[in-house]
Symmetry: C2
Subunit: 114 residues, 2 copies
């Protein structure tokens, strides 16, 4: 058994960590970025994201700091930690293994490349 079952649902964590691996972001921005980068396929809900960010911070994968934007609005930025990068790397490998396994069942290489 190699694949974490939570990958079945838990790809959101990986995607968030990937965004933060590129640059620091605040929550609302992540929702927008995820939507753009996936060509509108992902519309992550605020009610999903914010609790997840809190959990990831508690697990030492992220740190946060507040910053005031030009318009005086306060935003809470998140930054990925070394631990978070390690986790991201693991999750990416699991994702590859998982999709490969599904594609094997769906008809091997012929499906993946069809």
């Amino acid at each position: 058994m190699a694949i974490d079952k939570s990958l079945l649902t838990g790809s959101t964590t990986m995607l968030i960590l990937k965004l933060l691996d590129e640059t620091n972001m605040y929550g609302y921005q992540m929702i927008e970025e995820l939507r753009k980068k996936s060509n509108n396929a992902f519309e992550l809900k605020a009610g999903t994201l914010y609790p997840l960010l809190h959990t990831l911070e508690q697990r030492n994968m992220l740190t946060s700091y507040e910053e005031t934007a030009d318009n005086a609005r306060v935003r809470k930025y998140y930054s990925i930690t070394k631990n978070g990068r390690k986790h991201l790397k693991e999750k990416k490998e699991e994702w590859k293994a998982y999709t490969a396994a599904v594609n094997d069942v769906l008809g091997g290489a012929s499906f993946a490349t069809a």
Copy 2:
């Protein structure tokens, strides 16, 4: 919004339908086949599979019949219906769209082909 959220967890249904699209099978056999075809990546639990088969039968995606094996053991075989094949086709398209979207976020073509 194009992708069914249940795909995040719900790829099991698609895999079961795919197996039955090739040949009729009984539950225990599906667990074995799924494990073999995925190179041991998937170890579907009986407690997950049997209730799922019952649900799919209720939703008219499968039909079942009992058959006695050589060793006198009774097995419950499942057969995919026309409706089930239609559902499988839809799920496969969703799966492709979903993995493409994740791979886009993970770094586009360079990730998928790496």
